[in-house]
Symmetry: C2
Subunit: 163 residues, 2 copies
């Protein structure tokens, strides 16, 4: 039986030792497995919250929405920095995309996000300043914007966590 090849998410290109993130790491068995794709000059992630990801019954927990914006934004930053340096985002190039950490995260909750739908996040890098990328994202449920995020993503230092 054959199947069509799966599209490659930005997170699929993170090297193994940086692929354990609870939000988006493909190697984290308990995590959310958020996956982000480039599409028409934007980035897009889709995520379907579990029944347990509730704020009050019927609505999605804000911490899960913040997580979605967080990982979507660091992936968007990686794609933007790769593009700015002419690096192709593809498998088997021998050069993984740059990996970002979150310097700051801001989320405006515009309205309650209904549970039971696949959420779509659309984002864009607004600015690259040295090692920082500012990313703006919007979360949609059933086509309606329910949260808006701004993340300052910072290129992960080689000695991350050692100081």
């Amino acid at each position: 039986m054959s199947s069509s090849p799966q599209p490659t998410a930005i997170q699929d290109l993170y090297p193994e030792h940086l692929a354990h993130c609870y939000g988006c790491g493909r190697l984290n068995e308990q995590g959310h497995h958020i996956r982000t794709f480039e599409e028409d000059g934007q980035t897009v992630s889709e995520f379907t919250p579990d029944a347990s990801h509730v704020a009050v019954p019927g609505f999605v927990y804000g911490g899960v929405i913040a997580s979605l914006i967080d990982c979507h934004s660091t992936a968007t930053a990686a794609a933007a920095m790769a593009a700015a340096s002419g690096q192709p985002l593809a498998r088997d190039t021998g050069r993984p995309p740059p990996r970002f950490v979150t310097g700051s995260l801001h989320v405006d909750y515009l309205r309650p996000t209904p549970l039971g739908e696949t959420l779509v996040v659309r984002g864009k890098a607004r600015e690259i300043k040295g090692r920082k990328v500012v990313v703006e994202s919007t979360v949609y449920a059933g086509g309606v914007a329910t949260a808006r995020g701004e993340v300052v993503a910072v290129l992960m230092p080689d000695n991350f966590g050692q100081t």
Copy 2:
């Protein structure tokens, strides 16, 4: 066998239909069960991340830190609003504390948060403006501040989610 009574967390006082939050709901079996206490004019929460709550190996995922700040802050807002109206925060008063939702969440990640420690969040309501409470919080790991948060918490409308 008798045991000393457990201290009452602010979240223990939320009514049952508002106690399902993934971050802090006592009735959410899969959730984080964040619990917040009043202490010396501040609020304090303690939370020990799971081994899976990782950003890169050895460090806590930013989305979990955002969740901790989120639920800590809505509880702090509840306590502040209750105090402002002279309402005691105690069991069996017949009057649960007001319940807040998050209008906006801002987190500055000051340094990587090491995994394997119990994190402590300390917060304070900075301002009450009508239905809104602005809460500032700091997350500590081993006594070192690793993240700072500001949340604008909004009194939950009676018709929450109906519009």
